[in-house]
Symmetry: C2
Subunit: 395 residues, 2 copies
Amino acid sequence: MKILVLGGDGYCGWPTALHLSDAGHDIVIVDNFSRRQIDEELGARSLTPIAGLTERLRAWHDVTGRPIGLEVGGLLDWEFLSGVFRRHDPEAVVHFAEQRSAPYSMIDRQHAVYTQHNNVIGTLNVLFAIRELATDCHLVKLGTMGEYGTPNIDIEEGFIEIEHNGRRDVLPFPKQAGSFYHLTKVHDSNNMMFACKVWGLRATDLNQGVVYGTVTLQTERDSRLVNRFDYDDVYGTALNRFCAEAAIDYPLTVYGKGGQTRGFLDIRDTVRCINLAILNPPERGEYRVFNQFTEQFSVEQLAQLVVEAARKLGITAQIEHLANPRMEAEEHYYNAKHTRLLDLGLEPYYLSDSLLDSLLNIAMEHRERVDPDVIAPRVTWSGAEAGELEAQVAA
Amino acid sequence: MKILVLGGDGYCGWPTALHLSDAGHDIVIVDNFSRRQIDEELGARSLTPIAGLTERLRAWHDVTGRPIGLEVGGLLDWEFLSGVFRRHDPEAVVHFAEQRSAPYSMIDRQHAVYTQHNNVIGTLNVLFAIRELATDCHLVKLGTMGEYGTPNIDIEEGFIEIEHNGRRDVLPFPKQAGSFYHLTKVHDSNNMMFACKVWGLRATDLNQGVVYGTVTLQTERDSRLVNRFDYDDVYGTALNRFCAEAAIDYPLTVYGKGGQTRGFLDIRDTVRCINLAILNPPERGEYRVFNQFTEQFSVEQLAQLVVEAARKLGITAQIEHLANPRMEAEEHYYNAKHTRLLDLGLEPYYLSDSLLDSLLNIAMEHRERVDPDVIAPRVTWSGAEAGELEAQVAA
């Protein structure tokens, strides 16, 4: 199948492009390298040494004999985007090409505006490109479990049947996003649902949980194929960051009480979920939502799992509860459904000792690349300086 | 109270600015004249001859002795907007400054992108301006009843208590907006709710119904104060458009079956609702929603009321059911709550024979200004040409 992978140079996009190519699809990556540019802005870099995209693509061709196409540009540029659709006439579009860090979106006004403009208008352009140039094309769009927030009821997959005053309807599940980034995914979901309804497009919205891991069956075939591993305060997410911290004897940075519970998944499942969605497209006009995660953990639980795994490798890791830079419930009910991808055949890689071992070993291997100055949170939701927060908590 | 009226040159903004000035507030209008520019683009104009804003403000000063300030610029321009906040240090901001036509947002990609960018980023800038420069300021933001769509359950005011699998929570009411314009109001609502939560802002989201009428107690004091009256296919809304049509012997253009039911209100209630919201601000950190309308009607009912009122004035008006250019349910359940503004003391102007008389007389007075070529719908939700739609229906 001819597939565009928008944002195919990023943490999830790159291994997805390789997995889909390996599965026999004809892949074209579309990327403007904004993620690499943001690394420069933040003075951060991947724990793992990643090759440039051209070198990555050459390596994939060397190893497999399969070419992956490349189009360099951004989704805000309609002339570029419409040209890409005309040149490739895709049957599916996998859309990762959004600014995906919550802290980045909360740095200040410019970063909030950049994130909302880039994500919402970029996706709007993709919807119009499909409508005008590839109406039968299946849009597989990455949403986030963070769209739902932490309601005091079970979280369903996109829609919920509500009984109210003696009447019933199935309605979009109420959203309570926790950052300007997460809000863009809510906005995108609303725009996509409407576009499917009025234009008969087909779309799958994958409300993904927090991804951990870095290696997939494809990325480990050659050192030039190695994937990103973010550990910094802005792009690093819970489990991966904890492993990098353990590797350099930095305390594991748990925000607040650590009772924040979320859905998590292994990056090897991310890439398989995308292919499952592609192989089982919705009907024309259908907007469907899958909750894409495999297990729930609290942040504290994850930190403790890393402490234990590190101990077995002879590393003494300690947990430090920092003042929470975010505004979020630290103890709450959480029960999110995630059966639709299992129904399509997903057999998850559950979080295991061997995965934790592998991640810790990768972090140890590259520990000299870790910069301890980009780990402590610098961005707060309230706008207070991170130092002020610590003082408030100490007082 | 020192109040900014963003979009104070528009159909609702202008009479609101006058009403608030008349009520003793100190008003500054902020406008970039985008609405007048769009009239040029569409080859349409207000049925009523409206003066330029400078002349309008001079007239108000002549008539009342009260000045209204003016700042010319747009909300996307942060340097301008932050300067306005610094110069005026507002206690309340009334925000009408959005592209507010659903058909305009559906013309094509550029118009959808313009509408979403202008509205969402403009409102985001207003939220940051309040946070950074006037944290105690009350944001009174115009939303729309169209955010809710037409669910098969009663519509509550912003939030709904949901019981699900034996647990309960009060959550944002599910949204099902019906155009890229209506979607911007949903996006704004989500952004505002979040900003109130994390920064402790105070905001009132007024989900307004369809406004009819043109005259208020203030606009009728001088001919230079006269308000807009839109009747064209893009900006004209049901009741006002029907009156203009009756005045030139044009059939009343009902889209589809006409069973589409919505909340409506008199523009004299719009201006009073805004003042009620301002005089009763929410607490810091509170995001509240009022459904701002006074009566429900179906489009067919409204058309029939206009036919009857016209008959009494000796005008024979006829209803024509056009192929519906929109994608919407034409027969549906509709019961929307609207008690919160009544609780604050609103005594509505219900739709009356005298209001219909007055509107029809205004339309008759200016009937030579009506251009029959801008009445039939030119914009369709499906993207089909309007002519094709008619052919489909006839077939």
